[in-house]
């Protein structure tokens, strides 16, 4: 279906919900290969549900999700992850009771070649030296910022072709928010394709190439990040008209 060769992810009129509650009301969006897109909107606008629908945790009730041109709407979550579409959920979800290293190892669950796993582990440790230092400790005993690094590092162990990041700065002190966003920036610059959900709309639009603003399960606005940044009407998506 994809007309442009560089489109890695495409949503066509996707609807989804929880029981009788409708969360997504027909979402169309696109992420280009190598680019960073961001998904903005107030609480309850449907950002997290959009990411979950893409990664298969929530089943779309209608529409289509295409990843690298293939329909993954009905593909099981673990199979989607296997294909390289990696979702870092909100709240970090570090596996308590498993060491930092084991958390990272599990990130590479789908990677069968031990040499590749070792190489990726070294890369992650290079990116986050603190994880190397604390690799044998329980992952859940890391600080909030370190846990976020672990969550991202674990996703990188897959060798992701598309990274979905859900509120990576949530619950972090202001200084750590900036640090986390710097990491996201570095990943993007290194060529990773990213779809970012972020509470801090200003920072997200500064980093991203393209932005979508959700409201009540609809896409209310979309455009170049720079254009959206300059548009004051984005405030209305958050604070009403």
């Amino acid at each position: 279906m994809s007309t442009e060769a560089e489109t890695i992810l495409q949503l066509e009129n996707v609807t989804a919900g929880y029981g009788r509650i409708i969360a997504l009301n027909g979402i169309d969006l696109k992420v280009e290969q190598g680019a960073m897109a961001t998904l903005l909107g107030a609480n309850g606008a449907g950002k997290t549900t959009t990411l979950k629908t893409i990664s298969g945790l929530v089943r779309a009730t209608g529409g289509k999700v295409l990843f690298e041109g293939e329909d993954i709407t009905q593909t099981p979550a673990h199979e989607i992850a296997r294909r390289g579409l990696v979702h870092v959920p909100e709240g970090r979800h570090v596996l308590r009771g498993l060491s930092v290293r084991e958390n990272l190892e599990l990130g590479a669950f789908t990677v069968k070649d031990p040499a590749t796993r070792r190489k990726r582990m070294d890369e992650v440790f290079g990116l986050f030296p603190v994880l190397a230092k604390r690799q044998h400790g329980d992952g859940s005993l890391l600080s909030g910022g370190e846990q976020q690094m672990l969550a991202i590092g674990r996703a990188l162990m897959h060798g992701p072709r598309l990274l979905l990041l859900d509120e990576p700065s949530m619950g972090l002190a202001p200084k750590l928010v900036i640090e986390t966003m710097q990491i996201v920036k570095r990943l993007s610059e290194a060529g990773t394709t990213i779809l970012l959900v972020e509470q801090n709309a200003r920072l997200a639009l500064k980093l991203a190439d393209y932005g979508y603003v959700l409201e009540g399960g609809h896409i209310r606005m979309q455009g170049d990040a720079a254009t959206l940044r300059a548009d004051n009407s984005i405030v209305q998506a958050y604070l009403g008209e």
Partner: protein, 261 residues
């Protein structure tokens, strides 16, 4: 501004060293529709829980009409005139709509357990009154046709109405609604707006709501208070709030540090 009905001063709440509410001052006037908004994790539901007695704040005071509520148990708070609904609909299973709503009236029941067991005439009279009142509440929210159905079999929007009717059956002076529009479609939202307006206008009950749908909040509220990280950062009319830089920053993020990127 009208007389203050609910007045919070200096309310602080913390769990295991984490501050959830930090010295919050907050007023809801008599006969007002007010809203409490703020980003995720700002402490809105915690504030509701403090008002209704589910949480005990470490310091401060919470008064309704000058009566201190801080030391009261939740059912006493209800008797003092405050009713609430919950973020997720919480109806009693395997009870009809009417029974659910009647359960709301029992906090006003005067007959004791003994007369209830003995089925004394006073108790029977009271039961009939409760029933009549519950039906009246259901009629008010517009679902009296469904009063004999199992409450949990109703459409979601109607379940929300049952919850509101149950809250009304306690004959409150102040109604707290926690995200009443969550999961409703746009038509149902409009109906909800009308209902909230009628509750205030016809029943003379003040309403305070927490709501994420800021569009709806702006339409209905006369006063809006904004909570961010446990701190009350703004208070005012909808237009003032929309233009308040502190509120915009709370919702869209700060500009500090942007240059580092």
């Amino acid at each position: 501004m009208s007389n203050p009905l609910l007045k919070l001063s200096g309310v602080s709440l913390s769990f295991a060293g984490n501050t959830v509410l930090d010295n919050v001052d907050f007023v809801v006037g008599e006969g007002v529709i007010a809203s409490l908004i703020g980003p995720n994790g700002a402490g809105k539901t915690s504030l509701f829980n403090c008002i209704t007695g589910f949480y005990k704040p470490q310091s401060g005071s919470i008064k309704i009409d000058g009566h201190e509520l801080m030391k009261l148990k939740p059912h006493r708070v209800t008797q003092a005139g405050i009713a609430r609904t919950f973020q997720n609909v919480r109806l009693f299973h395997q009870m009809t709509v009417l029974e659910n709503v009647m359960s709301g009236s029992h906090c006003r029941s005067k007959a004791g357990a003994i007369s209830a067991i003995l089925g004394l005439p006073s108790q029977r009279r009271e039961e009939a009154e409760i029933r009549a009142h519950a039906i009246e509440c259901l009629r008010f929210v517009g679902i009296s046709d469904e009063m004999d159905r199992d409450a949990t079999n109703l459409a979601y929007g109607h379940q929300r109405r049952v919850e509101i009717a149950r809250a009304l059956a306690t004959r409150p002076r102040l109604l707290l609604l926690d995200e009443p529009a969550a999961g409703l479609n746009s038509g149902e939202k409009q109906d909800l707006l009308d209902l909230i307006g009628r509750i205030r206008d016809e029943l003379d009950i003040s309403v305070l709501l927490i709501e994420h749908d800021t569009g709806m909040v702006m339409k209905i509220s006369e006063r809006i208070s904004v909570l961010d990280h446990g701190v009350m950062i703004a208070e005012g009319a909808p237009k003032e709030i929309q233009a308040n830089p502190k509120v915009i920053e709370a919702y869209l993020g700060q500009e500090d540090g942007e240059d580092l990127l």
